[in-house]
């Protein structure tokens, strides 16, 4: 609003003096300009050196092939990318990662949204306690929570003991030894760890919603669901898009859960792309060119999915 009020005036100002192509900056303006640059340059320089330069190097590396340190440019240059398409393990990790993405992200964001609306209720008692309890999992270290989940779902672990105690199963389920259940445990782990994190974003978003809009809906006769769906959710849309992009990004780069919970097993079926990337670089006979190509594929997927989500989810500028 503020910028809208200012811009016509600014426009008038330039229109008022059409003969001068551009105003020469006064010395004080010039100094201020330079000061701005001085403030920006260190950060920009560091980002360029620390982030963009390695990215460029990785791109060059992804076109190289060879053993260990003896790398040379591949013939053709896109050889590693071509190789990825024929790599059964890569295709499997890609599928697995998308299974996590498609099941876990909507489930988690939905749960987070519902929880945040419930916890935003002004009449709720012990609100702080609930909020802390739900947020707490994401303060736990990735490794330790993975190990706890691993212990819980061991053959002689708590989950099997409990289910057997309740006579729901006769013999222990080998949770981490079967493809479907191993993936399920990873998804459960992710839900436990990250739902609270996203909930906090929604809570912040909810604070910015004018209570009058909800009150108005109520007065107009909307029930709780209608109010939530037609009044609250649309206003939370920017936040939902943000969390969806972050979660997609995070899931595509998922490593800790796959590594610590299942080691990618059984037979690679719960392994994520980033886990495979790590194996290619450090556990097996290192193939850094190939691993870089894989990292660029992940980057591309993140970028494309983020773009789609921004186009689909955010109608503000449309």
């Amino acid at each position: 609003m503020a910028t809208a009020a200012v811009s016509p005036a600014a426009g008038l100002k330039t229109k008022g003096r059409p003969s001068v192509p551009k105003t020469r900056p006064t010395p004080s303006e010039r100094r201020r300009n330079l000061t701005g640059w001085v403030f920006i340059i260190p950060a920009a320089g560091l980002i360029t050196i620390m982030s963009f330069w390695p990215m460029l190097q990785a791109l060059l590396l992804s076109m190289q092939t060879g053993r260990g340190t003896r790398l040379h440019y591949a013939q053709p240059l896109w050889l590693n990318y071509e190789r990825l398409l024929n790599d059964d393990i890569f295709i499997m990790t890609l599928k697995t990662t998308f299974v996590y993405l498609i099941i876990q992200v909507p489930l988690m964001l939905g749960t987070a949204l519902v929880l945040s609306v419930l916890l935003n209720n002004p009449n709720l008692k012990f609100k702080g306690l609930f909020r802390t309890a739900i947020f707490l999992p994401c303060a736990v270290s990735l490794v330790s929570y993975s190990l706890v989940f691993r212990t819980l779902f061991a053959n002689d672990g708590f989950v099997n003991d409990m289910l057997m105690g309740l006579h729901l199963i006769d013999s222990p389920v080998n949770w981490l030894g079967n493809t479907i259940t191993a993936r399920l445990v990873i998804i459960l782990g992710l839900l436990w760890r990250w739902t609270g994190y996203n909930m906090v974003f929604y809570l912040a978003g909810l604070q910015n919603i004018d209570p009058a809009t909800i009150e108005a809906a109520r007065i107009d006769g909307a029930n709780a669901w209608q109010t939530f769906w037609h009044v609250t959710v649309p206003q939370l849309k920017p936040m939902i898009v943000l969390t969806a992009i972050m979660s997609t990004n995070g899931t595509l780069q998922l490593f800790d859960e796959s590594w610590n919970l299942t080691r990618g097993g059984p037979a690679y079926t719960s392994m994520t792309m980033s886990h495979y990337l790590y194996e290619l670089s450090f556990l097996k006979s290192p193939n850094f060119g190939y691993a870089s190509a894989l990292s660029y594929v992940i980057l591309l997927l993140v970028a494309v999915l983020a773009l789609i989500q921004m186009k689909v989810g955010d109608k503000r500028d449309a």
Binding site: W37, L46, I49, D88, A154, P266, Y268, F282, S285
Partner: protein
């Protein structure tokens, strides 16, 4: 305007230069601090990377004491570095060519030997002029670090495999340790079925999806996942087919139970869920944590693969070797290793009782300490036996792509146990390994 531009660009340029200079200073600073410890220094200090305080770090400290007797100025700077970190550091340093950061000596898993020598030849110093007599080590072990006839590693702890069994459980089922000695797998399975039906316990346990037992089986029959020329030897490997078949039978008959983690694996035999285990002798450390079971255990060799000419009852799993880096004070490092790990019975006599580090150095096996009865194993002279086993282990080529091959075979085992066709699963494993070698 142009004056402004030049001034501006000059400012940007100088700032960028300053930034670059400060970064460069950081880089050379850290490089400099690292090189201090690596051999240069006072010429009497060696820097070492190894990982287990109760085992190889302890052994190094004792070695330092032994060497200090003749070289009072000598000191050792031991930096505890877990194996995964050692491998990552080697990879990173090799990529960045920053060899100053290497220690003088580091410990390396035997199975990773060939891979690292081939990938990062610049990292390794060789033992050619060390004067160490490598014929005093079993060929099967020196082979892990022998490339093109040059020796790059000095074997330290033995990976010789043992079958460790609870004699009291065997007795309840009417067997003795002698019944499990020098047997083929077919006989082992018969006994296993009988034991299972009589006392209700499986013979052994293993981590699901781990191919340790398979790798031990094929090595005992002198086979490997790779041919001598480095080509893949998986789908056309008769011994491997037999081994995977035996493994599936063990699981199907309930003689072997699969668990998911290492802790569960250890817990299965210390917690009396199974009769025993087949593993590298280093597992003895974990077995002996169950102090209340002292006297109830005995050690023997492992079953041999049926129907393979030349199959033995001896094999290995794991183990590690000392490597001298290319950046080392090579003369001192070689002399230190020669006087301790490759030349001092006194040294091995010290480390054996307290850490259970069984030597690969054959002369050590003749000493009294090795021949002393071990109370935990019912008075058996276990260590002398294991050294004797070690000398009979067939030598095989682990190959550069050992980990790729082993992983692929692990996946095949999971599929076969789950009911997939053995030949198809091994064909897939072969293809996967060949692809990885691409």
């Amino acid at each position: 305007m142009s004056r402004l531009l030049t001034r501006r660009s000059a400012l940007i340029g100088s700032l960028a230069l300053a930034g670059a200079a400060s970064l460069a200073a950081c880089g050379s600073g850290s490089g400099g601090s690292g090189s201090g410890g690596s051999g240069s220094g006072d010429g009497n200090t060696l820097k070492v990377w190894c990982w287990d305080p109760a085992f190889n770090i302890y052994a190094m400290k004792e070695a330092e004491k032994v060497y200090k007797k003749d070289h009072p100025d000598f000191t050792l700077e031991i930096i505890e570095t877990v194996w995964d970190d050692v491998q990552q550091k080697l990879t990173t340093l090799a990529q960045s060519q920053d060899f100053d950061q290497l220690p003088d000596i580091f410990l390396m898993q035997n199975m990773a030997g060939q891979k690292n020598i081939v990938n990062y030849p610049d990292i390794f110093g060789d033992f050619t002029d060390s004067g160490i007599d490598f014929s005093q080590f079993p060929e099967s072990v020196t082979n892990y670090f022998n490339y093109d006839g040059v020796q790059y590693g000095l074997p330290f702890d033995s990976g010789t495999a043992i079958g460790a069994w609870r004699t009291d459980f065997l007795e309840q089922a009417g067997y003795t340790i002698a019944d499990l000695t020098d047997v083929p797998w077919s006989r082992f399975i018969e006994i296993g079925k009988d034991v299972k039906s009589k006392i209700g316990k499986p013979m052994l346990s293993g981590q699901a999806g781990a191919s340790d037992l398979i790798m031990m089986m094929i090595q005992s029959a002198g086979s490997s996942l790779f041919n001598d020329d480095g080509t893949v030897h998986i789908s056309d490997n008769d011994v491997l087919h037999k081994a995977v078949g035996i493994y599936k039978q063990l699981v199907d008959e309930g003689i072997l139970i699969e668990v998911n983690s290492w802790d569960e694996y250890i817990g299965s035999f210390t917690g009396e869920q199974v009769v025993g285990t087949i593993q590298g002798v280093w597992i003895s450390g974990s077995i002996q944590t169950a102090t209340e079971q002292s006297g109830k255990w005995a050690v023997t060799n492992v079953p041999s693969v049926d129907g393979v000419p030349g199959a033995t009852n001896y094999t290995a799993n794991g183990g590690s070797s000392w490597v001298i880096s290319s950046n080392a004070n090579a003369e001192l490092a070689a002399d230190f290793l020669k006087s301790t790990f490759a030349g001092s019975t006194e040294f091995y006599d010290t480390i054996l009782p307290s850490s259970g580090a069984v030597a690969n150095w054959i002369p050590a096996g003749k000493s009294d300490v090795y021949n002393e009865p071990v109370e935990f194993y019912g008075g058996q002279a276990v260590y002398a036996d294991v050294v004797a086993f070690g000398a009979k282990v067939p030598s095989v080529n682990t190959g550069v792509y050992y980990y790729e091959g082993r992983d692929a075979v692990s996946a095949a085992i999971t599929q076969v146990v789950g009911g997939a066709d053995l030949a198809t699963a091994l064909k897939d494993a072969s293809d996967t390994t060949e692809f990885a070698m691409g």
